[in-house]
């Protein structure tokens, strides 16, 4: 992203200045705010955002510079050699107190019903520098609330502090310019042109950058209070860009609630709305809850993982290796591919390996910001893994070849993100016509296909360790898994190990 490239292309020469009695060396031309941001000194602010241009309107990041009469805003203050800057002096704190008071003068007391509560800058600063006894004893200015400004958004202009971040985001990042600030003085309200909506695929970023509860996400609206949620870093499985994200869940109820971007070189501060929906399939109502196998009468029934593995091995023994085929979707981690191919290709010598891809996909598509036509997180990794075991690495949908191959037993790693596969159902149908298919999947959709005789529940991307390789081959780490929302779920590595064990002992 552009912001990143700026960071990398900064001029060589650096300057040193003093911030809170601590010498800080930064590239020439850096503002005090950036310098503080990079050196973990927190200067309170509303309108400044590392991913956006400088507006300097909230007047909250006031700092004291030695030998200068007035307080200055850190976001537009260039660090110069030898400059002494302080954010701790009483006069600065007093200024912050009043800056906050001015923000709160017309801010409604919506905290009980505001989704931002708990991660709201106004609340945080109020705890820090609040005038606990407000001097405002006059009626507040009222503005329109709960407006529908986009498919993903709800706007409350009364909570808005007019920091201008959303307007700049629309102008600078998405270049759609759908938002403006109308009227002037304390009558100013942010909004879209009458009856026009925000339509792009990056709406929820407005919710993220909004320092208060003016923009709230329609998907997350009222679902949970944020202080109940735990977040863990992960990588978005929505497309081959592999944005770095945080997944938010409430482990006590084993429910996932939202996905938010995490600052990184890959995606800067942003991510698309499609990616934000990748938590839904992790919730229990959409998960395959238990392994399924057939009993002697050939009837489907719930079994333990051990039984499922045993029956799979039995099936494997009953057919010749050249009749075994693997159908692999590019939505699993490199580690999983390694283990999978290690056993089936290297050990068993299976040669029929096909990719499970979406026939309608347009790989070269790109929206110019983040979202890519390849809706799989690990196409790159799969090709690598295939190449490693000496198989063709070219990216193509292998369904037809599979049908022609006359395989009698297929082990299929089904796609995890179902909504990225419009033709998933028809693919299931085609697959179910084959003699024996063992479908390894996270989703309950496969269970509803009666013809599937053998199903193994897998963990979702937020529940396992591993790594994706994005379109550039950059590594995206999945290092902090949540406990699986489904008891019987395992990742491919665990399943394959089990299969290998049984296979070995059965010899």
């Amino acid at each position: 992203m552009s912001q990143e490239s700026q960071v990398t292309q900064l001029p060589k020469e650096t300057i040193t200045f003093n911030l809170n009695d601590r010498d800080i060396t930064v590239p020439k031309g850096t503002t005090v705010m950036e310098a503080a941001h990079r050196n973990d000194v927190y200067i309170p602010h509303f309108c400044w955002h590392p991913g956006l241009s400088i507006a300097g309107v909230c007047r909250f990041c006031l700092v004291k510079v030695d030998n200068r009469p007035k307080l200055e805003i850190a976001c537009n203050l260039q660090a110069t050699p030898g400059m002494k800057v302080s954010t701790l002096l009483p006069e600065v704190k007093e200024a912050h107190k009043w800056a906050l008071e001015f923000h709160l003068v017309n801010h409604p007391l919506d905290c009980p019903i505001c989704d931002q509560a708990g991660e709201c800058k106004l609340q945080d600063f109020y705890m820090e520098v609040g005038k606990y006894k407000s001097e405002m004893d006059r009626p507040k200015v009222l503005k329109p609330k709960a407006l529908n400004v986009g498919s993903e958004l709800v706007l409350d202009t009364e909570r808005c502090i007019l920091c201008d971040r959303c307007v700049r985001f629309e102008q600078e990042v998405t270049k759609t310019g759908a938002l403006g600030i109308f009227n002037r003085g304390d009558r100013a309200i942010v909004g879209t042109y009458p009856d026009k909506k925000i339509e792009h695929n990056y709406q929820d970023n407005l919710v993220d950058i909004c320092p208060v509860g003016a923009f709230t996400s329609r998907d997350f609206r009222f679902k949970q209070r944020v202080w109940f949620l735990k977040d863990k870093p992960a990588v978005c499985p929505g497309c081959s860009t592999g944005c770095h994200v945080n997944v938010y869940a409430k482990p006590e109820v084993r429910t996932y609630f939202r996905v938010k971007p995490r600052e990184s070189a890959v995606n800067s501060h942003w991510m698309c709305d499609t990616g934000r929906k990748t938590y839904k399939h992790l919730n229990q109502d959409q998960r395959l809850r238990f392994p399924v196998a057939t009993d002697t009468t050939g009837k489907r029934k719930r079994v333990s993982t051990a039984e499922a593995v045993a029956s799979l091995v039995a099936q494997l023994r009953s057919v010749a290796v050249q009749d075994v085929a693997l159908l692999v979707s590019p939505q699993y981690t490199c580690e999983e591919y390694a283990a999978f191919f290690d056993f089936f290709v290297k050990k068993l010598g299976v040669t029929k390996v096909f990719q499970w891809r979406e026939p309608t996909e347009k790989l070269e598509e790109f929206d110019g910001l983040l979202y890519r036509g390849d809706h799989n997180p690990n196409t790159f990794g799969l090709s690598e893994a295939l190449a490693k075991v000496g198989l063709p690495k070219d990216v193509k949908n292998g369904f037809d070849d599979l049908a022609r191959s006359g395989a009698k037993l297929v082990v299929a790693l089904a796609p995890e993100i179902g909504f990225q596969f419009p033709s998933l159902e028809s693919q299931f149908q085609r697959l179910s016509e084959l003699p024996f298919v063992s479908v390894w999947t996270t989703s309950a959709a496969a269970y509803n296909v009666q013809a599937f005789k053998h199903l193994l529940p897998l963990k979702g991307f937020a529940e396992k360790r591993g790594s994706f390789l994005n379109y550039q081959g950059k590594v995206g780490e999945l290092a902090h898994p949540f406990p699986a929302a489904v008891d019987d779920a395992h990742d491919v590595v665990e399943v394959v190990t089990a299969v290998a064990d049984v296979w070995a002992h059965a010899l």
Binding site: G177, A178, G180, F182, N183, R184, T192, Y193, P194, K196
Partner: protein, 161 residues
């Protein structure tokens, strides 16, 4: 089919090329539209957006920001009465009350077709003629409460109060 008259279209075109950037033309264009129509309607903004490439959000922002631009229909005679310091000291408040009385009376008869609308205006920069008001574009000085009646009568017949 354009919502603008031939002459107005020509004017707008000339403004678009007159300044360094197209956007700079927004203010003059809006002035031109208001001189002809008195206010700026949404269809007009839409045409500016689509035909003349003036972004509708930018135009709306400008209209809402500046006092002169109106996004709702206006009366035949818009009175802008200065209520600032000097005019206030020399009797603006009483005159404004008087004008309001007239307008209420007129509106009682004519409703929306009443000839006058009143806007208490920040400042008109003619303090040596205070109290001063603008009727449309015409500046009227010494518009004290005792002269208000005759001044308004020049524009439209007034009912007895």
């Amino acid at each position: 089919m354009s919502v603008f008259s031939e002459s107005l279209q020509a004017k707008i075109q000339s403004f678009l090329t007159r300044y360094e950037t197209r956007r700079s033309a927004i203010l003059p264009v809006l002035h031109a539209i208001q001189d002809e129509h008195g206010w700026v309607s949404e269809p007009q903004i839409e045409e500016l957006h689509h035909t003349y490439g003036l972004d509708r959000v930018h135009v709306k922002e400008v209209i809402s920001f500046y006092d002169i631009y109106k996004d709702h229909p206006v009366r035949k005679y818009q009175i802008r009465y200065c209520k600032n310091l000097t005019c206030h000291m020399l009797g603006a408040r009483e005159a404004i009350c008087r004008i309001k009385e007239h307008i209420t009376a007129l509106d009682a008869q004519l409703g929306e077709d009443g000839p006058f609308s009143l806007e208490e205006f920040p400042c008109l920069g003619k303090c040596d003629g205070a109290p001063v008001m603008l009727v449309n574009k015409e500046r009227v000085e010494y518009a004290t409460v005792d002269r208000v009646d005759e001044i308004l009568a020049k524009y439209a017949p007034l009912p007895k109060l």
